[in-house]
Each structure stands twice: as C-alpha cells, then as structure tokens.
C-alpha cells in the first residue's frame, strides 16, 4: 500500500503488456517514456489541449491527466496502432489529403478523437463533429481543413 511501484497489465495497440509503473506516472508518461511511443504529445499537460489524446477502451481521453495505474486491464490505442503494414487508415489519409496537417503537433491527438468518432457509426452533423473535436487546440490550420477531413470520412458512411 505504501509502495510507489505497481505492476499493471494492459493491451497497447493490440499487444498485451505487463509493466511496472510508478503510481505517480500519467498514462502519457507510460506511453512516451516506458513504451517509447512518442506520437502522443506533451502539449499543456493539464488536460486543456488534447495533444496527448489516446483511446482507452475505444474512447478518447487526455492521457496527461489519466493515471497510468488506471489503465490496468484496459485496451489502449495510440496513433502508432492505426496504420496497418504501412497503409494509413481512411481517417489518416483524409487528414493528409485535406491539408489538415501543418506542424503536426496536434495531429495524433485529433486523429485519435476522429477515429473514435468514426467507430461510433453514428449519423453526425457538422456541428456534432465540431463539438466532438472541441477538446483539441490547433495553432496552425485554423481548424477548417481538420473539420473537412473528418466530415469527408464520416459523411461517406
């Protein structure tokens, strides 16, 4: 109970992992420092920008304020887990095609939220999409191309 280290089991991008974590680590610390998956970014580290967004049990969360120990028994998907054999997903390709990537810092987080949104298979309006992406800040694009990319994929279903 007084230990700072704890053993957890989780699935990351489809692979089962057993890791010892410090109880004071965030999921972002775990992903970047221990697993060396650096797609998720340290933007604000206070849950205000979405750059650290990953999927936990299929839902987008800010990993910077999500304790690593909470991921025990859960399925985590990061941006590295999307493309298969080097082929981008439809959503990733749409981001590329619509010019939704400039510096790329916000991109992994946004792609994770957009991917989760797509997997809901719901009919969504433009406003619905905007609202679902409102947990992300982008300094470069002005958001328009991002919305277009996501609408392109979700509307086509």
């Amino acid at each position: 109970m007084g230990d700072k280290l704890r053993r957890i089991e989780l699935t990351v991008n489809g692979r089962k992992k057993e890791i010892e974590v410090d109880v004071r680590e965030s999921l972002l610390d775990l992903i970047r420092n221990r697993l060396e998956l650096t797609g998720a970014k340290r933007g604000c580290e206070v849950g205000e920008c979405g750059a650290c967004t990953v999927l936990v049990n299929g839902e987008a969360v800010d990993s910077c304020i999500y304790l690593a120990v909470w991921a025990d028994g859960k399925e985590v998907v990061t941006v590295e887990g999307l493309a298969k054999d080097g082929k981008l997903t439809d959503m990733q390709q749409a981001f590329v095609d619509e010019g939704a990537v400039q510096c790329g810092f916000c991109t992994p987080g946004l792609v994770m939220s957009a991917t989760a949104l797509e997997s809901r298979n719901e009919k969504l309006s433009k406003d619905d999409i905007k609202r679902e992406l409102s947990g992300h800040l982008c300094r470069c694009t002005g958001y328009h191309q991002i919305s277009k990319a996501v609408e392109k994929v979700i509307d086509s279903e």
Partner: protein
Amino acid sequence: MFEFSEYYEASSLDEATEFLAKNPRAKIIAGGSDILVEIREHPMPDSALVGIGRLNELKAISIDSEGTLSIGSMTTFEQLEKNELIMKYVPMLGESGGTIGGPQLRRVATLGGNICNGAVSADTATSLFDFNTRLVLENSGGRRIVDIKDFYLGPGKTDIKQNEVLTRFLISRADYEGFFGCYIKFSRRKALDIANLGCAVICRIKEGCFSEIRISLGVAAPTPIRCTTAEKFARGLEITEENMENIGKKALEDARPRDSWRASRAFREQLIQVSTHRALREAVSKAGGMQNG
C-alpha cells in the same frame, strides 16, 4: 510524474473513509481533472491519493417511488448528458455539465468532483442550487445530508470533512416538477474555458405569469448564490420582455461581483443582467410560454 506520496485504490466505501480518517493529509481523487492539475501547480508530496473509481454504487442514477432523483457523485458529465432520467426531469443539469471542458474531459470528470472542488465557477453548481439539491456525505460512522446552499463555505472551500466521501446528490420531485430551465455559461471560448459568469434559471408558468422562478449565479459572489430578491420580485409577474429585463436588473441586488483580471466589475454586472434576462427568455420559450411584447 505527479508529486504525491502514494495511491490507494479503495474497493469499498468503508475502505475509502477509513483510509481518509487514518491519513489526515490524504485526498480523494475522482476523475482527477481538478486535483492532478492542482498537483502540477502545487505539489502534494505528503498527501496520498485515494481512488474511488471502483465504487460502483457512486455511479448510479435512479428515482424512487416518491420521485426523488438520486445522482451518484462519480457520474461523469458525459453520462449526465445522456442519462434518460436527467434528460427527462432535470435536463438543465445535464446541459450545464455539457459546457465543461471538452469531450475527453467530460468522459472522466465527475459531478462530485466539480462540486467538492469548491470553485465558484463550477458549471453544475448553479443548476444544483436551483433544484435545492441535497448532498449525501458518508463516513465510517454514518452519514449526513447537507443542502447545497450550506455546502459552499467560501471561495474554494466546501463543508466536506476529511473522513467523508460525497456519495450522492438528491433532488426532490417538488423541486423539479413543472419547471423549465436554461443555463448560460458566458466565456470567451465555446469549449475548454472557464465561465466568466454562470447563470441558471428555472421557471414555472401559469396563465402567462411566472408562478415561480429560481435564479442562481456563478462567479458573481464568493460562492454560487441564489438571487432570492429577484425571485421574490418575479413571483406573479406577467411574462413580458420588459419584466424579464427588470428581473435581470434585480438579480444584481443579490450579487457581489468583483474586479479581477478576468473581467471588470462593470462588465460582470452587465453579464449578470443580460444573462439572467436571456436565460429567462429561453426558459420561457422551452415552456412553450406566452410572451407579450
């Protein structure tokens, strides 16, 4: 890494309250979106965090035979917005939770955390004030029930004791039946922002007049407040634009807005008047209400 001393995951309410009692510096962590952010700013190397995320009894929303709504303290804002009982009986509460942060935050942040954090800008506080909500606080010895208006002691301070866990919110039928409401959050951004002014209004209408209204303001005083002067003034008034504007002006009499870097006092006063007026207007139109002039 966050600077706290240790993490204890409680598997029962008793475990949580006992740990809190034995460790006077320990703090509860619910969704974590307030306390972990606080720890970044002000490390707590001597404090253990007690996780209550496994206590399923804190996540239930139900209604009893008398129509009293019980809302678990660990309900997330995403759950609150989508819950059928909330949407049916107290939709303004769900809507107010929906203005918080962004989708990722609303997935983990909880109603209990929003209130226990004690911030005067808490978006759900004003709705809970309007509904005369009661808070159930439990410790190893038993429980006590506190009215929300007595729970806020001052800026950032609430009446939760060290060995207590807030388990549920209770709203009686008499406090929600027949009311229509609107919550306005005034902030610079539409998401990921904190309210400069929060205004929650509910009203009952009879024959073109307000039979009862309740107005709560956030960020207009050291704690969230009910505008009792404006509420008394409004009772029985005919529903007109002019009267709603006057009720907005009356709301100022209960508020004590201050100058700060976020907004000047003059601006806050304008926000109070205009938001109250607009929220009333919106609540009236939800009631299918009659409006003259």
